[in-house]
């Protein structure tokens, strides 16, 4: 049995967490599930707002030139419009910047990591990573935290977001606030959402409706087999779901596919880089296709410039022969009209409100 004071502390912490949770409105459309939120980093309006300032804070890079928002730009659905991201020192990342939209629902994070599922942990990689250098903060952490402590606005915001902590301005709390902000970026307001879930039969064009049938037909394009469900992605995790919040039992190495889009070479060999298992060669995560019209160029290496190029790639069953290519890639015949229909459908997944939503804009502009 716990002692009385410990019970009171526990009850107090639970109440604080409850208040923080109650202090955040996801504004989800009716029927959509809430994301899973780690108990150690409850959502609150104050924490998300601090995260927004930090996400766009350029002092977070070693030379003060870049923020998280440099490679995750709202107008591009939080990608950067480049084939490969460029770090603060000019170093090119081997892979393309991934969208952060609905990242709270992702079972796994980044292009090719079978174990990373914490946004809080992930936030450290661009900050401190050296291969490649992204933000280049390593060695400048104390200077950065000192700058935050010296800023009256941040002192107020950290105190509000991490109430009761004597020194709230820590790198761990920076990561928590940025993760909370990223978790808040949810998108379910596309024309297709209004058509599919909102009862608005006229929300998308007939061309998009035809494209929907191609997308969801395994006898045609069959795109849904990797980009399925309401998030047009692999498995999602959500509050109240099975198996710890996911839609079901999740294979930690599931949801990653070799699509034959490249002749895979180090350091871009997909899951193989982490596992060194031959069967993981060239396997990358299937990202959500929400807002895909905004996230060109495509694939892990940005090697396909347009949605038309992507359809051609999959219609051909992959650009390159590869012994490890997913058997899901069957190739298909697509006419010019069907290709236009598929593209119209993919465009109907764009959430224009998300692109302009003031909750996620750069507060420094």
């Amino acid at each position: 049995m716990r002692s009385g004071w410990l019970q009171r502390v526990g009850a107090g912490l639970a109440m604080a967490a409850g208040l923080l949770a109650a202090d955040f409105d996801w504004t989800l459309p009716k029927g959509f599930p809430r994301p899973v939120v780690p108990a150690e980093n409850p959502m609150s309006a104050a924490r998300v707002e601090l995260g927004r300032y930090l996400f766009y804070e350029k002092r977070i890079s070693g030379n003060g030139t870049q923020s998280c928002g440099s490679c995750h730009r709202q107008e591009f659905a939080f990608t950067d419009g480049r084939a490969r991201a460029e770090g603060s020192t000019g170093q090119l990342h081997p892979r393309s910047s991934m969208s952060l939209v609905n990242v709270a629902y992702a079972v796994r994070l980044t292009w090719a990591n079978a174990t990373l599922d914490s946004l809080e942990e992930q936030a450290l990689i661009p900050m401190l990573g050296e291969a490649p250098v992204e933000l280049g903060l390593k060695g400048h952490e104390a200077e950065f935290l000192g700058a935050l402590r010296g800023d009256a606005r941040y002192r107020r915001m950290f105190a509000a977001a991490f109430a009761g902590e004597s020194d709230a301005v820590t790198l761990a709390n920076v990561c928590q606030a940025i993760a909370a902000f990223e978790r808040s970026i949810v998108s379910m307001r596309s024309p297709y959402d209004r058509y599919r879930w909102g009862g608005d039969a006229g929300a998308i064009s007939d061309a998009a409706k035809r494209g929907e049938l191609l997308f969801f037909s395994s006898e045609h394009a069959g795109c849904f087999r990797c980009h399925g469900g309401w998030n047009f992605s692999g498995a999602v995790r959500f509050a109240g779901g099975n198996a710890g919040g996911t839609a079901g039992e999740v294979d930690p190495r599931g949801g990653f596919f070799n699509t034959g889009v490249a002749q895979y070479a180090a350091p871009n060999r997909g899951l193989y880089e982490q596992t060194q298992r031959a069967e993981d060669m060239g396997k990358f995560r299937a990202p959500s296709l929400r807002n895909v019209a905004l996230t060109a160029p495509y694939m892990h290496d940005g090697s396909l410039a347009t949605l038309g190029d992507v359809i051609d790639h999959y219609a051909a069953g992959g650009r390159f022969a590869d012994p490890n290519k997913s058997r899901i890639l069957h190739g298909f015949t697509v006419t010019a009209e069907e290709k236009r229909d598929l593209i119209e459908f993919l465009k109907s997944l764009t959430d224009e409100e998300m692109v302009h939503d003031a909750r996620w804009t750069d507060p420094w502009k």
Binding site: G31, F32, P33, K209, L213, F224, W230, G241, A247, E338
Partner: protein, 152 residues
């Protein structure tokens, strides 16, 4: 079938054919299904809760005179239902697994979701195999059910 044809087929009074080893072949419209005993299945699309309504596939088979209940024995047990979708996709259920006298695994022939007629990628009719782990046999765009008797 091309996408334009798939969409057109949904607009033109769609039906489900029930054929093969049955006493009475059927062509069922949404109106026909509305007059049969109705059933509901609760399902989840990655956290979005959906209530499908329609008719148990067992009741459709009984209406068509396929072997169910006491008739489902001997050679009839080597029979299956081939379900076909508008786009050519097909799945199979053994006749026995559609009979609640054999197994509690009722498959719904659904025509509405959350009170609205099915549409779009689901087609006007679909199957809901709620006890299957993957969704692959919850066939969408259903157009035909053929009862096939392997042993004559």
């Amino acid at each position: 079938m091309a996408a334009a044809g798939l969409l057109l087929a949904q607009d033109n009074a769609p039906t489900v054919e029930v054929t093969g080893a049955v006493k009475q072949a059927l062509t069922l419209s949404a109106d026909d299904l509305a007059k049969m005993p109705r059933a509901k299945v609760h399902a989840s699309n990655n956290g979005i809760e959906i209530v499908y309504e329609g008719v148990w596939l067992h009741d459709v088979l009984v209406k068509a005179g396929a072997a169910q209940g006491s008739e489902l024995r001997g050679k009839a047990l080597a029979s299956y239902v081939l379900a076909s979708a508008q786009d050519g996709y097909q799945v199979v259920f053994s006749l026995a697994e559609l009979d609640p006298a054999f197994v509690e695994n009722q498959i719904l022939l659904a025509d509405t979701a959350d009170g609205r007629p099915l549409f779009g990628e689901q087609g006007r009719f679909r199957l809901v195999a709620s006890k299957d782990k993957p969704g692959a046999r919850s066939l969408r765009m259903l157009t035909k059910l053929e009862v096939v008797q392997v042993r004559k």
